[in-house]
Every structure is written in structure tokens, then in C-alpha cells.
Symmetry: C2
Subunit: 343 residues, 2 copies
DNA sequence: GTGAAAGCGCTAACAC
DNA sequence: GTGTTAGCGCTTTCAC
């Protein structure tokens, strides 16, 4: 462990050839067959591996991409990261995980750290955005891809999804199941997901073909199970109790199910609950959670592909990819497949 | 974005002083007050940030630590990562996430990549270990801390926990609750967690004060919910069905609950189920999962602290930290707090 | 096809 | 306290 690693120069000396030839031979660029053999042998003897830092300094390329989210604890981020990994790893990129914090200012600060030059680009999911952050992203010294909100009009490559429409689909789903009083459990309105999902709900309940009743909106303190429980209690405590709760993400939906259970309500019998993100967590939860997929892994892959494009040509015009949504109906809204058990 | 970043030389020229003084002034090491002022001003005007790569090359220090696990999808790894972050970030380290793959060979290969020199150390949780991997770790060019199994006798710093005792605690817990037929749902026996937990179960059921009955062991294909469901079905299909299932981790325990439900069994009434790792997932699951905590976040923090020590002195003797276990009794084994609901 | 040499951005001797 | 210079490990002109 304390043995020093061999350098190119040592390999060159060992092989009895020049430094330049050694580099070329190891790269396979314009070196004779015998040269390649000699150098390879020397490198092998010395256990040589190219030094990533020296290489980076020379090439001005680190082969690292940062992935920044507010909180890696949210399973949806983990799934997005898997998608990113999947695309980036085969291209030799490593992924550095960073935390944005949950304000636009702390995210902007993180963008600023990109000036350190330790990554070739950043894929970021800002929870909150403001003009300063957008400006900061525009000025970033490396390519940045934003996941969450369309920003190509601001010159920023981004991957978005129509979560508003997704909420609409969830509303429509529970209404089609015969639910009449639809409550909405959202996260903070000043966040990117919170605002768009609110818009989605407002549009859904004011559509002409919406035949049910808007039965209240509660805004949780953040997008977590704990906050969801607290907010859902209020939603369910109303005199005119909802018989369906559309939640802004899976974590809040699970909170809603907890709250319902505390009140002795059965899900989905008394209250149907839908989530969003279609995380693995929701899929294995009991009751299995009906959820609107926003294509997490696919968003990660799409962002990674945009990044690869930008890595090729940083001045390419900003692109935008939109990933479709899909509702997966499961036990938290439908009684089918719910085995008879008395607890 | 395409504007080139300012270098130290440019700052030096702008300030009209030497390169060395500029570096010193920015570092605050032995520079006059007026010098510091001039240089700071110049740096600010040019929007200078120190280049991480140049600095790394010179200092032979990347300020990056790799964290390698088989699958970031497992919530327990995410919690460990949070612990690592928490300790390392204040010291200016970034965390690079890597995947070990699930074999000892693929993990050894990853160790080999450390020769690239892009990180100052690695914290790794090998799923499977063999002599070659251990040798590889011993030969690694940077400090390595292993989480999962005591290895200080092999000269490797490690963070371990007594998961065997943890399984014992789980067995004892369900027995004390009056369960008579205890089944064990394990993951692959050739993995580090699988083997130690098997040992824990074997010891527990052969202890003289074990008054219940060993009601079968099933080994799932891996430590996932899906594999847990499949294996738990077999466990519950036996003529002499267990009235308690001790699972090797939370994911398997959740699989067991799914399997029980499929068979129309109530948890915990008909079958009590315990997990291990005490993940957030288990805590929010319904029924809330009884689980043995192996101090995930603390293991991450401990590993990070060991790493900081090794970063200071790579030749310090290998240390070993053991983190305690603690059983959290919740609804999957106890009927208390289980609201009356008829589903 | 091969070698010599420059230089990426930085810090730390070393002189003064 | 300040300046000059070497050199970390690498790739790539540029000559030959």
C-alpha cells in the first residue's frame, strides 16, 4: 500500500525507449509492433497504470461527472442515479455524488464549486430554483444538465417530464374508480415538483369533464413520509373527508396510508391513495402503491446522454428531452388482488 | 460556460506579483497583509478558483474517497453513505460512488482500478470475499477500509458489527413473545452477511436456553424483496409452518410479509417477522418492521473516521471498530399499536 | 516510427 | 516577506 506507483518515465527507462514512444505504445497510436511489445512488457513488469491526475491535467478532462440532489435518501434519486451510471460508466466516467441542500442558494453555491474543475460536467436536480441559480448554471464552467424542469429556453439542457399531466392521470384514475371526493397531498409549493404538481391538480379539478369534488389540499413540509403523515392527518380530519388522496410522490402517499390507518380507515376501501415516481419502495409497500411513473431510470439515462453530447461539444445548442408518464394501478386504489385477511 | 477559467499565473500578473506570492497569499501562509489584499482583489476580479487537478498533481492528493457497494439500490447502503458523507464532507472530501458487482473477482478488479490514482482511499463493502480479494486489498495503492467483516488480523482496517448476535437477539425476541416454531430466511451463504447470519441462527437455535423449535431455513437467491418472496413461500409451505420468521435483512423480511399475505396469513398474528438493518424502508413499512439495527449510519461514520486516520498516516496499524446492534420491536412482531382494521 | 521538449496548474523548496 | 524555479505525470506537437 505504501509502495509508490510506477510512472511512465520508469516504464520508458525499463523498456529502453523514449517517454513519448512509451505513451504512444500504450495508447496504440502510431507505434511499431515491436515497440508496443517491449513497452507492454515493461509496463506489466512494473505494474504500471496510467495516473488519472497527470492525464487529467494534460487532457483537461477528468472523466468524472457530478450528480447533485437534495437528498440521496429519496429512493427516486437512487433510481435516477442508476440510470445515469448505466449510460456513463461504459464511457469511462465516474460519478461523484453531491448534495445540493434544499435551497436555491445552496444549489447555486454548489454550482460555484464547479470552478474547482474536478468534474467534466454536472447533472443536477434542483429542488428549488430562482433566477440567480439559473444564471449561475448558465455561467457554469462545465456543461450542466438539469433534471426536473424544462430549461432549454434559458439555454440549459434539461430532462423534464409532465408531472402535471401525471397528477391529472392520477385524479382521473381514482374518479374512474368511482371516487367522489378527491384530496391532494402536495409537498412545498415553492419547489419545482411542488409547483408543477399543484398546477396539475388545479387543472384536473377544474376540467369540464371532472365530475367529482375537490376535497381539499394539504401541503406537507417536505417530500417525506413523516411530513406526509402530518399533512395527511389534516386532510383526513376534515368534515367532508376525501375518499381518495392523490399524493405528489410515493413518500407522501405512504405517509397518507399511515395517517389513514391511524384513523382506522382502510386503504383503498375507505380512502384510495396514489403516489408518484413509481419507486421500488412503493412497489413493495403493502398495499402495493398505485403510482404515476415519471420514468426515473429513463430520466437518468436521458440526462446522461445529453451530458455525453455536451462532453463532445460544450457549445452545442441546449437540448431538451421529455420523458413520458405512466400510471401503474395497484392495490392502494383497486381492491383486485387484495387477499382477504383480517388483521 | 465556454469562457476559460483564470489560472494562478493570470492572477499573479494582474496583481503584479510573483506566482509564489500569489499562491501564498491565497493560502494565507506567510504573506504580508498588503500582499494578501492585492492578490485577493486580483483573484476576485478574475473570478479565480484554484484548479483541483493541478493542485492534486502537485499535492498527490485528490480529496476524493471512493465508496463501493454491490448495489446502491439497497437502502442500507444509502444510509451508510450518508454517514460517510457526514464525516468526510467537512474535511473537504468528495465521495465517488462505485459498484463492486456481486462477486469477489469483480470487487478485486475494482480494487485494481485504484491504481489509477483518482481517489485517496476507498471504503468498500464486499458482498463476497476470497483470499485473492483480501490480498488485493492489502496491495492497494491507497488506504482501504472494509465495512462488513473484521479484517484487522489481515492488516486491513475494518468496521464490523456482530450480526450473528443480532440474529440471536431476533430469535430470542420472537421466542420471548411466545413463538414456538422459528424459521430463518437467509440470503446466499457464500456472502459475508449470509454466512455470519447463518452462524448466528445456528448458534441461537442450539443454545441450551433455546426452548422453541427450529422450523426450517431457506436461502434466498439474493438479498432482495423478490428473492425473499420466493424463498419465504417455501418456508411457509412446510407442513410444520413457522409462526415466526427471522430474516437476514429488511428486504427479505418484507418479502416474507408479502409471501405470508399471499397465503392469507396475518403478520404478526399468524407469523411474526423480523428484519435486520433497521432501514427507513422497514420503519415506514406496514406493518412497521421489527428489525435489528446494525448501526448503518454509525458504521459509515466509523469507516469515514478510520479513513481520515489513514489519510493522515497510511502506515498506521490497521484498526478495527465494532458497532453494536440493537433490536427495535415494532408491529411485525408485536400486536401493540396495531390499530383494528378489517381489510 | 521514434525522440526531444514543452507545458497543463499548482505548491514548495530554495535563495535573497 | 518576496521572487525564482523545479517538478508532480502525462500527452502531443515538432523535428528527424
Amino acid at each position: 500500500m505504501s509502495s509508490t506507483r510506477a510512472t511512465l518515465i520508469q516504464v520508458a527507462e525499463r523498456a529502453g525507449v523514449s517517454l513519448a514512444s512509451t505513451s504512444r505504445a500504450l495508447h496504440g497510436t502510431g507505434a511499431s509492433k515491436s515497440m508496443v511489445e517491449r513497452v507492454r512488457a515493461a509496463a506489466l513488469e512494473l505494474g504500471y497504470s496510467v495516473d488519472a491526475i497527470g492525464r487529467s491535467l494534460r487532457l483537461k478532462k477528468t472523466s468524472q461527472i457530478a450528480f447533485a440532489v437534495a437528498d440521496i435518501g429519496n429512493p427516486v434519486y437512487v433510481e435516477i442515479m442508476r440510470g445515469i451510471h448505466e449510460v456513463l460508466a461504459p464511457h469511462g466516467y465516474r460519478v461523484v455524488v453531491m448534495s445540493t441542500g434544499d435551497t436555491a442558494a445552496s444549489t447555486a453555491e454548489l454550482m460555484h464549486s464547479l470552478h474547482g474543475g474536478y468534474v467534466d460536467g454536472m447533472i443536477v436536480i434542483p429542488l428549488r430554483t430562482d433566477d440567480d441559480l439559473i444564471a449561475q448554471i448558465g455561467r457554469a464552467p462545465v456543461p450542466v444538465v438539469v433534471i426536473g424542469r424544462a430549461m432549454s429556453d434559458r439555454g440549459i439542457s434539461s430532462v423534464s417530464t409532465d408531472s402535471a399531466a401525471g397528477i391529472g392521470a392520477a385524479v382521473q384514475h381514482v374518479v374512474s374508480l368511482g371516487r367522489r371526493r378527491i384530496g391532494f397531498l402536495n409537498g412545498p409549493l415553492d419547489t419545482t415538483p411542488g409547483s408543477s404538481r399543484q398546477r396539475g391538480f388545479d387543472q384536473a379539478v377544474s376540467a369540464k369533464d371532472f365530475t367529482a369534488e375537490q376535497a381539499g389540499v394539504e401541503v406537507a413540509a417536505d417530500f417525506t413520509v413523516a411530513a406526509g403523515i402530518t399533512a395527511a392527518r389534516k386532510l383526513l380530519d376534515r368534515p367532508h373527508r376525501p375518499d381518495a388522496i392523490v399524493a405528489a410522490n410515493d413518500l407522501l402517499a405512504i405517509g397518507a396510508i399511515h395517517a389513514a390507518r391511524e384513523l382506522g380507515l382502510s386503504v383503498p376501501r375507505d380512502v384510495a391513495v396514489t403516489g408518484m415516481d413509481d419507486t421500488e419502495l412503493g412497489q413493495v409497500f403493502l398495499p402495493r402503491l398505485t403510482s404515476v411513473s415519471l420514468g426515473s431510470a429513463e430520466r437518468g439515462r436521458a440526462a446522461a446522454r445529453l451530458m455525453l453530447g455536451l462532453a463532445d461539444d460544450a457549445d452545442a445548442p441546449a437540448q431538451q428531452i421529455s420523458v413520458g408518464t405512466e400510471l401503474f394501478a395497484r392495490e392502494s386504489t383497486t381492491l383486485e388482488n387484495l387477499p382477504e385477511t383480517t388483521e
